[in-house]
Each structure stands twice: as structure tokens, then as C-alpha cells.
């Protein structure tokens, strides 16, 4: 009996353990807690793309993908626990999916020689790869977002924002405060008046901020929100009849979750994005065939084509392309985290490559180098069509004002290098 039990346990352990020589991609997801509604679609998109590569292509370069999902609940401590518990599995790259977790992982992952990809969040100055050797934030960061929002408003106003009033409604946290410096610098350059309106976590109550907006009547409102703050802000904007077409959110304020509670009244609301929207791309046909129809979809399989699902899919695609680059560079399929870092640092995304992947015009073209871990800073503006219940891009991808941003990145990253005793460089 004892022997039988031992055999059974051994058999179960063998069956449960991953095959050898796999490419391990951890997914630090949050399917529970106050932000689960946003965490689920991203995690589904991330997982489904890797499942597609396994089922359709047999993995990457002949190596199967082993995706380990770890629940963080969008909690920094749990995120660090997830990192510590999975880093020994040969994890190639971490997508922390939280600015708080990213900040904690910057020194840890750097010391462990494991790359981190904080796509559109985290520490903006990590764009300087000479200082942040293992941290990447391509294709765009928060300062790019702030700059592109202003660029869009410049285009809307024949190139001048002189005398215009812009209000920033932001989550009162390190994340929410990210764009302030950029917007202040840009206000000096373009002559607009900036008002900043912080909202306390979690953002259920914003009456004071929107009463002030009603009194001050700014021409535009830019929002840096997250979770319930977004839904309440959009509802309050509707309540005070602020014109939706003059209300622009960062990409974390631009999901279906944010606009649906306000119903038809949210029509016209705009949000920045660094990838395209909808599911009208060949890759989604493959996902349907190899993932959904095969019963392998992550979660309930009901998030496909939503803004955050697409973001998760895009992140997985960039990770897979970096892994391919690393495999080619080092002439081995079973790459290490250090080799993955090299792949990320030499990643080139062209329209031709995107089309080959079944994602034509899905994201901007960009190139990563040792000096530039943040890509070329392109983002576009999407607008919500409430009657159709979908987002659509209303601009091409626009590049941020690097003339203003580059000195800020240099200043912040060098200050970090000095306090951390890092010698900047590419070798």
C-alpha cells in the first residue's frame, strides 16, 4: 500500500512538473482584489499569446513556453513574494504590472541579473539603459504619455495652447504624480495654465475636485487614474457636463471598464494608448482556433479584444520577440535571463515584423538600444464610441517631445546612479 502511494505521488509529481529546457515566463497577475477587473484581461492576454505560440509554433525557437502565474492582488509585498518564489525557476523576464512592485524589483532584479519589462508604467527614467541595465520600459513611458497628450492638444488648437487652461486630475500616489514635472515643463514651453487636482486613494469620492473643475472651467482635463478612480471621474465629468471630447486619460484610464459604468454619456471620452484596439487582426483568428476552440483560453475567455487584453497580448508578443532575438544572438534556443536581457536590448520592432506576426499596425515601430531602454516614445489617442461599445484610434502614433523629456530622464537617472553607486555605461 505504502509503495503504491509512493508510486502514485511520484507519478503525480512528474506529471505536474514542467518539461526540461523550457522558456519560463512568470506572469505577476492580479485576478483578485479591488483591481481584479483590470488585472484579469491583461493576464488573459499575456497567457493566451504564449499558449498560442506553444500550440501553433511549438513554443519559441523550438522551446516550449512555461508560463508561471503568480497572484499579487496588486499588492507590492505579494508581488515581491511572487518574484522571490519564481526567480529560481529560470524566469526570463518579469512584467510586474504595478509601479509599486516595479520599484521594489529594480534593485533586486538587477542584482539577480533578471530583466524587468515595465511596459508603460514603473520608473520613467529607467529608459536610460546605461543606468538601469536590467530594466526596460518600451515602447512608451508616463512622460511620453504626458507629452503626447499635449502634442495632441496642440494639433487640436492649430499649434498653440497659449492662454488655455489644462487641469490634471491624478491619483495621489507616486504613479499619479509622474506626469506633473513634464506637464509643468511643457506649460512653460507652450504657455498653457496647469492646475493639478490630486484624488485620494482609492478615488470613490471626488466631489471636491469636480466642483473645482466646474468653477474653474478648464479647457481640457487630463487624467492619471487607476481602478475605481477612473469610473468615478468619468461619471463626475458627466454629472457636471464637462465635454467628453476634452477629457483625456492616460492608457491606464482607457479601458472598457472605465467608460461602461457611465453608459452613453461617456461617449467621446479619449485615452492615450501605445497599441491598437479591437480584435480585427489575423492573430486573433489564430487565438480563436488554437486557444479558445481548443479550450485553452486563460480565465473565462471573455476578455478577448478588450483594451487591457490587447495590452497583455502585446506585452507577451514583445517578450517573445525579445526571446527570439536573444536566441539568434546567442545561437541557442535555451536562453538564460542574461541572454534574454541582451535580446531585449537589441529588440527592433518594425511594421513588417508586426504584419508577419498577424498584428499589422497594432503598435508603433521602435528600436531598443543600450542607451535607450524605452523605445521611441510613440503613443496615439483612442476615443470611446458608446453606442458601438468600442474604442477606435483617432490619431496616428505621435512621438513625444524628446527635446524636453531627454534632459529630465538624464537628470533623474543620474541622480539614481549616484545614490546607488552605479557607474553608467554599456559594458
Amino acid at each position: 500500500m505504502k509503495l503504491k502511494l509512493t508510486t502514485l505521488a511520484l507519478g503525480a509529481a512528474i506529471a505536474a512538473s514542467p518539461a526540461l529546457a523550457e522558456l519560463t515566463f512568470p506572469s505577476l497577475s492580479y485576478r483578485t482584489g479591488p483591481y481584479a477587473a483590470n488585472g484579469i484581461p491583461f493576464a488573459d492576454g499575456y497567457a493566451d499569446y504564449f499558449t498560442l505560440l506553444n500550440e501553433r509554433d511549438g513554443g519559441i525557437g523550438g522551446e516550449k513556453i512555461n508560463m508561471i502565474e503568480c497572484e499579487t492582488g496588486y499588492n507590492t509585498e505579494k508581488g515581491v513574494e511572487c518574484y522571490e518564489s519564481t526567480k529560481g525557476e529560470g524566469s526570463l523576464v518579469y512584467q510586474p504590472l504595478s509601479t509599486g512592485i516595479t520599484y521594489q524589483l529594480i534593485p533586486k532584479a538587477t542584482a539577480d541579473n533578471i530583466p524587468v519589462h515595465s511596459m508603460g508604467y514603473g520608473r520613467t527614467s529607467a529608459k536610460n539603459g546605461e543606468v538601469f541595465r536590467y530594466i526596460f520600459n518600451y515602447p512608451a513611458n508616463y512622460w511620453d504619455g504626458a507629452s503626447v497628450a499635449i502634442k495632441y492638444l496642440l494639433n487640436e488648437n492649430d499649434g498653440s495652447l497659449e492662454g488655455k487652461k489644462i487641469a490634471l486630475v491624478y491619483h495621489n500616489s507616486a504613479y499619479g504624480k509622474e506626469p506633473i514635472r513634464t506637464l509643468e515643463e511643457l506649460s512653460e514651453k507652450h504657455g498653457y495654465e496647469l492646475t493639478t487636482l490630486p484624488v485620494d486613494h482609492p478615488g470613490q469620492e471626488q466631489k471636491s475636485q469636480w466642483l473645482q473643475i466646474r468653477r474653474d472651467r478648464p479647457d481640457y482635463v487630463i487624467m492619471w487614474g487607476w481602478g475605481v478612480m477612473n469610473q468615478v471621474a468619468i461619471q463626475e465629468a458627466v454629472n457636471i457636463r464637462f465635454p467628453m471630447e476634452n477629457f483625456i486619460g492616460i492608457w491606464w484610464s482607457g479601458s472598457e471598464n472605465d467608460v461602461l459604468p457611465a453608459g452613453e454619456e461617456a461617449d467621446g471620452y479619449k485615452a492615450l494608448t501605445f497599441h491598437n484596439v479591437g480584435s480585427d487582426y489575423p492573430v486573433f483568428d489564430d487565438i480563436q482556433k488554437y486557444v479558445v476552440d481548443a479550450g485553452l483560453a486563460a480565465g473565462a475567455g471573455d476578455q478577448i479584444g478588450t483594451a487591457l487584453y490587447n495590452r497583455g497580448l502585446y506585452a507577451a508578443m514583445l517578450a517573445a520577440e525579445a526571446a527570439k532575438t536573444a536566441q539568434e544572438m546567442h545561437d541557442t534556443a535555451a536562453i538564460t535571463p542574461e541572454q534574454m536581457r541582451d535580446g531585449m536590448e537589441n529588440l527592433v520592432i518594425t511594421e513588417e515584423k508586426m504584419a508577419d506576426l498577424g498584428l499589422p499596425n497594432f503598435g508603433p515601430e521602435f528600436e531598443v538600444t543600450c542607451e535607450n531602454h524605452g523605445g521611441n516614445g510613440y503613443a496615439a489617442v483612442a476615443q470611446w464610441d458608446a453606442s458601438a461599445g468600442e474604442w477606435s484610434l483617432i490619431t496616428d502614433y505621435m512621438q513625444s517631445d524628446l527635446e524636453v523629456l531627454q534632459p529630465l530622464i538624464e537628470e533623474d537617472s543620474m541622480a539614481f546612479a549616484e545614490e546607488s553607486g552605479i557607474e553608467p555605461g554599456c559594458n
Binding site: 484579469i40 484624488v199 486613494h201 482609492p202 470613490q204 473645482q212 454629472n239 459604468p261
Partner: protein, 328 residues
């Protein structure tokens, strides 16, 4: 009238309305604490669970559909019917009564005569259990809640004040509805506790458990009753807050708004919860309006808790709370 004064009046009115919403959450805490001495950590999650259940029933959502589909390979999500709001609210209230019975039967009954801290810890466990259970039962997506409550600016107030002062006040119709509902709720609770047999029993238990038991009042029945009422109050709070932002899991965090209200008004007083809510609502909004711009804004949470701390120093039992005298 000077513009700043008009703005201050508008802010004060909106603060009063916000205070009513805070009071709605605080009321649930007070009811349970008064009757059983338990600080119910799960009150915020009860509001979330009630709102989730309401939307689920209204939209004909199949409970545990994700679990059922994962186990049996089915694809069921909705029953295909839509339940009218009033009926859905009644059914949800029934679910909350069932919940109260389960809590009494499987949690509280086993903890009779335990210290307050043990009961408090039990409610922490209950909160985590319910949050996970609600997720499993109804899913984690954001749900639209529409029970027919009006939303948006009140045109009459806007136009009238514009004609009087040249500046139209913004008052949200939802806040007005919440105020009316809160008044009805408080009057009903007062009438119930003063004039009904069960209400008098509830007050007897609140005054002295042992004495109430000695005259034949069933402690278990009272606990089920009070948790049911707190569940109904949680449902009302869930409807009001859920109508603003959609029903989502951050709804459980509204409990954070109730704590300073309780410290101010006292843990054992229903009028205290209302007055405390109004003071916090008006105070934080006026402070943000007058002082906020000087210190960078976002002072509301800070102000509420600092005010509550000041009360703790000078009047620990709150405005209307009972002074606890312990003799050695």
C-alpha cells in the same frame, strides 16, 4: 454675494450630501456594535456582496458560472431574464437575511462569551471569505447598477440658484436620493427599535446581555435580526455607492470612510452616525476648498482622520457614544 461665499455654500451642501453617504456605511457598524459589542470588519464587504448579489439577480446572472463552466465544460452565464429592480432588491434582502442566519449559526454561536477581540478577528476572516466567495459567485468584472435612481445635476436647484445668485449650484440627483433614503431608513430604524417588540428586545440586549437573557430574550434571534438589518443597510449603501462607480471590488473600501465617522459620532449611537457623517462630510469638503490649495490638495482623508483623532483625545466615546466606566 461674493463668488467665494457662493462656492463655499455649494461645497457645504455637497459636503452634507457626501456625509449622508458616509453615514449610510457607518450605520451598519453601529447597529451590530450596539447589539453585540462586535466591531464588524466585514461591513464594507457586506455592502459589496449585497450590491454584487443585487446586480446578479437583476441581470439573471448564473451564480458560480465560471466555476460551473470550468468543471463541466459548459458555457452558461445568464438565465436570460431580467428581474425588476424592486423585486431584485427584495430578493437580495432575503439573501442578506440568509447570510445573517449563516453567520450566527456557523460563526457567532461558537464564539459566545469570547472576548471582543476574538469576535473582531472572526469578522476579519468573514470579510476575506465573503470577498472571495463574492468573486467566485458573481465574477470580478465591473457591473453596471441601475435601479432607476436619478443621476446628474439637479436642474431645478441649478436654475433657481442661478436666478437668485447668478451662479447655479451643483447638487447631484443621486445624492438627493441618498439623503431621502437615509432619512427614511433612520426614521424606520428608530420606530422599529422604539415601538416594536423585537426592537425593544434588541435594545434590551444592547443594554445588558445577561439581563436580556434572564427575561427570556433569545440572543441568537437578536443576533440574526441585527445582522439582517445591518445587511439591509449594507445593501442600501452598496446601491448608492455602486450607482456612482459601478459595482466592483473596491466598493469594500468604503468602510474606510466610515471609521472616522464612527470615532466622531460614537460606536453605539444611530444619531451619532448621522451627525458624525455630516460633520466629516462638510468638514473635509470645506477644508479641501479653503486650505487644500495651500497645501497641495488631497486633504480629505487626512482631515477626516485627524478630526477623529482629536475626538479620541478629548472625547473617546464620540459625540453620542456611551461613556465606558470600568471599575476594578
Amino acid at each position: 454675494m461674493p463668488d467665494q461665499l457662493l462656492f463655499a455654500i455649494e461645497v457645504t451642501l455637497n459636503g452634507l450630501m457626501a456625509g449622508v453617504l458616509y453615514a449610510l456605511v457607518a450605520l451598519g457598524f453601529v447597529l451590530i456594535f450596539k447589539a453585540s459589542g462586535i466591531f464588524n470588519y466585514a461591513q464594507g464587504v457586506m455592502a459589496l456582496f449585497a450590491a454584487l448579489t443585487l446586480v446578479g439577480i437583476q441581470d439573471g446572472q448564473v451564480p458560480f458560472s465560471h466555476l460551473i463552466n470550468a468543471i463541466f465544460g459548459t458555457d452558461v452565464h445568464h438565465f436570460g431574464w431580467h428581474v425588476p429592480a424592486v423585486l431584485a432588491i427584495l430578493l437580495t434582502a432575503a439573501v442578506m437575511v440568509l447570510f445573517a442566519w449563516i453567520v450566527e449559526r456557523y460563526v457567532l454561536r461558537h464564539l459566545v462569551n469570547q472576548p471582543g477581540i476574538i469576535l473582531f478577528m472572526a469578522t476579519i476572516g468573514l470579510a476575506y471569505f465573503m470577498e472571495g466567495f463574492g468573486d467566485l459567485m458573481w465574477g470580478a468584472d465591473i457591473k453596471n447598477l441601475d435601479v432607476g435612481l436619478p443621476q446628474g445635476i439637479n436642474e431645478t436647484i441649478d436654475e433657481t440658484t442661478y436666478n437668485w445668485f447668478g451662479y447655479g449650484f451643483f447638487i447631484d440627483n443621486l445624492d438627493i436620493a441618498a439623503t431621502i433614503v437615509a432619512v427614511i431608513l433612520v426614521v424606520s430604524l428608530t420606530l422599529f427599535s422604539q415601538y416594536s417588540k423585537q426592537g425593544r428586545a434588541l435594545r434590551a440586549v444592547a443594554d445588558d446581555h445577561q439581563a436580556a437573557l434572564s427575561v427570556g430574550i433569545s440572543l441568537r434571534f437578536i443576533w440574526v435580526l441585527v445582522w439582517s438589518i445591518a445587511g439591509f443597510v449594507a445593501l442600501v449603501a452598496g446601491i448608492m455607492w455602486g450607482s456612482k462607480s459601478g459595482v466592483q471590488f473596491s466598493l469594500s473600501l468604503i468602510a474606510l470612510k466610515a471609521l472616522p465617522v464612527l470615532m466622531l459620532g460614537g460606536f453605539t449611537s444611530i444619531p451619532g452616525a448621522i451627525v458624525g457623517g455630516l460633520i466629516i462630510g462638510v468638514g473635509e469638503k470645506l477644508f479641501e476648498f479653503l486650505i487644500g490649495p495651500l497645501v497641495g490638495g488631497a486633504t480629505e482623508n487626512w482631515f477626516a482622520y485627524v478630526l477623529a483623532l482629536l475626538f479620541l483625545v478629548f472625547r473617546p466615546q464620540g459625540l453620542f457614544g456611551e461613556k465606558i466606566i470600568e471599575r476594578v
